[in-house]
């Protein structure tokens, strides 16, 4: 795969943030932070770390830095996220969705949407860490996965992930997750969630 410079599959904004990433965490030890979040893993080819500094007076994000082991889309989406959240109330930053990031970037190629999820997940983890440290753990949203397919032990999180990876039909969802391949009782629920997540992430 290669792209000539005149013909990027990415928007100019993505290209700009990839070529000149903002707010990269250069030296982890030199940056005092109030919250730190890490998500993803190296085996899957992507990992993201986000650290935040909070202005305690008005509970806004004073600074946001990041590091990633990830592709161009992960770099660009986290770079723009780090700019979006500066000065934003912590509670509001907690609500940022991958769709918000994609909108800010103009758009991402569809099979790259899941890369933008990393940044906002890591940001939420950093905010969770901040809440935890500041005795505000009541604010932490417990996001527990719900098992949809009992036979193959597939959760709603995995269905959402499959949608981000490109699954659009029930058949593709089965290819990604193997759900519904034993007794098939979860088909109705899985189809509903499929539509819900497609709508959530792809409008």
């Amino acid at each position: 795969m290669s792209m000539s410079s005149g013909d990027w599959a990415y928007t100019d904004i993505v290209r700009d943030h990839f070529a000149n990433p903002r707010n990269v965490l250069e030296d982890e030890n030199a940056f005092e932070h109030d919250g730190k979040g890490i998500t993803g893993n190296l085996k899957c080819g992507d990992q993201m770390m986000v650290v935040i500094k909070v202005n305690k007076d008005d509970q806004t994000i004073a600074d946001c830095r990041w590091k990633t082991y990830g592709c161009a889309s992960a770099i660009a989406s986290t770079s723009i996220l780090s700019e979006m959240v500066k000065g934003m109330p912590v509670d509001k930053a907690y609500e940022i969705t991958p769709q918000d990031i994609t909108n800010e970037l103009g758009s991402l190629p569809e099979h790259k949407i899941h890369c933008s999820v990393l940044g906002d997940k890591a940001l939420r983890a950093a905010i969770d860490d901040y809440y935890e440290r500041g005795g505000m753990s009541n604010k932490i949203r417990k996001d527990e996965a719900k098992t949809i397919c009992q036979c193959m032990n597939v959760t709603d999180h995995e269905i959402e992930h499959a949608v981000l990876e490109g699954a659009r039909t029930y058949y593709e969802l089965q290819e990604h997750t193997k759900l519904g391949t034993v007794c098939g009782q979860c088909e109705g629920a899985a189809r509903e969630l499929l539509q819900e997540y497609i709508k959530k992430h792809f409008g």
Binding site: M1, S2, M3, S4, S5, F18, A19, P21, V24, L25, E26, I38, L42, K43, C44, G45, D46, Q47, M48, M49, K67, T68, Y69, G70, C71, A72, S73, A74, I75, H111, C115, E165, G166
Partner: protein, 396 residues
């Protein structure tokens, strides 16, 4: 604008050779159907047969042993599918009920066809390779039995360039009464290929990997080996591949192999030298790298290298911003979840497979291109590592 445009992705595809382009432009004037009896048809027929002779000569085959197909993938699909045909009336049914033996590092068109046939009940075995990508002869000897109908092993690997000992493997297959096929799409035009010396039954090759056009390939079928058509509905190509001939593509392929015959030997020496320059330069300027593939039995144009702690698609696109085109084994670039199956099969750790880059040089490259890559690459790797969560910088 980048200061230079460097194309280092010749294993993906190659630009048309100027002389190929010229003969194709001429062939565009010749519209007759090669199957027609009138003068216009006869002119097209003559072009097609001349190209067939050229392709045959290039691999030391006879013209009647060559059929033209739409691509290397079609050639590979055809061999596997036809030989597994369950029909009792099929002339090539001699191997009916026997299995296919192939390797874990084949091109997806072999792997996926094999998996599909396996779903239909054909016994399929995927043979392991060693850390250099060489087929394990010991495992192969055990795996080939009198229940094996076809052994299919690629001659040279597209990702790491490792070249297999095809002659020995073909002999082994024949000793057990199996037929032997090799996917030589990456080998033909880069190393000398002689079907008689290698004693293969089938060989696939492709036009666009050797400075010919896309959409044309050829399949060598040894004289006397039973074979029937996958694409049906016409008498073309001795009834072995229906469909009106792609005359312009065929003419291009014929010229492409002729040019390869003239240019290949000198080019191999030149690219091999530059590969060593590249390897030494990367080793000197970039810590924590790993070279993938075989140190000697490797295509002269191909260098595959992994950089610790970085993701390959990011490297690819930073190089792209500098005007340099390479490819990567990272999952992110392919849209799939897993990185290169070839690197994983050679035992490269998953992280290093994600962080791999393939440089594949070609006839149009210059030494200046090699120096340009060596100038740009260290800073890019350092930069990506600087923002990586996964690089500890052991040797820094």
């Amino acid at each position: 604008m980048p200061e230079r445009e460097v194309y280092f992705d010749h294993n993906a595809t190659t630009p048309l050779h100027p002389e190929v382009k010229a003969v194709m432009a001429e062939a565009m004037e010749c519209y007759g159907n090669p199957s027609s009896l009138h003068a216009s048809g006869r002119r097209s027929r003559a072009m097609v047969e001349q190209a067939r002779e050229r392709v045959a000569r290039f691999i030391n085959a006879s013209p009647e042993e060559i059929i033209f197909v739409g691509s290397g993938s079609e050639a590979n699909n055809t061999v596997l599918s036809v030989l597994s045909c369950p029909s009792g009336h099929c002339t090539c049914g001699v191997k009916r009920g026997r299995g296919i033996l192939t390797t874990r590092i084949e091109h997806p068109c072999i792997l996926e066809t094999s998996k599909c046939l396996s779903d239909r009940g054909v016994p399929v075995t995927f043979c392991a390779v060693d850390s250099f990508g060489k087929v394990s002869m010991k495992e192969l000897e055990e795996a080939v039995t009198d229940k094996t109908g076809l052994v299919s092993v690629m001659m040279a690997n597209n990702e790491i360039g490792t070249i297999q000992d095809i002659k020995t493997i073909a002999k082994l297959a024949h000793e057990k009464g199996a037929l032997f096929h090799t996917d030589a799409v990456q080998a033909v035009g880069k190393i000398p290929v002689d079907v008689k010396d290698l004693d293969v039954d089938f060989l696939s090759l492709s036009g666009h990997k050797i400075y010919g056009p896309k959409g044309i390939g050829a399949l060598y079928i040894k004289k006397g080996v039973a074979f029937c058509s996958l694409i049906r509905g016409g008498h073309q190509e001795q009834g072995r591949r229906a469909g009106t001939e792609n005359t312009i593509g065929i003419v291009g392929l014929g010229k492409a192999v002729e040019m390869r015959a003239a240019e290949m030997a000198e080019e191999t020496v030149r690219l091999g030298k530059w590969k060593e320059v590249l390897r030494a330069g990367i080793e000197k300027d970039i810590p924590d790298v790993r070279f993938n593939g075989h140190p000697h039995d490797c295509l002269a144009n191909t260098l595959n290298v992994s950089f610790e702690g970085v993701e390959g698609e990011a490297i690819l696109l930073y190089l792209d911003l500098e005007g340099i085109a390479v490819s990567t084994g990272s999952a992110c670039a392919s849209g799939s979840l897993d990185p290169s199956h070839v690197l994983l099969a050679t035992g490269v750790p998953v992280e290093d497979a994600h962080g791999s880059i393939r440089v594949s040089m070609g006839r149009d490259n210059t030494e200046g291109d090699v120096q340009y890559l060596l100038k740009k690459l260290p800073a890019i790797i350092q930069r990506v590592r600087g923002m990586s969560t996964a690089y500890a910088g052991r040797s820094k």
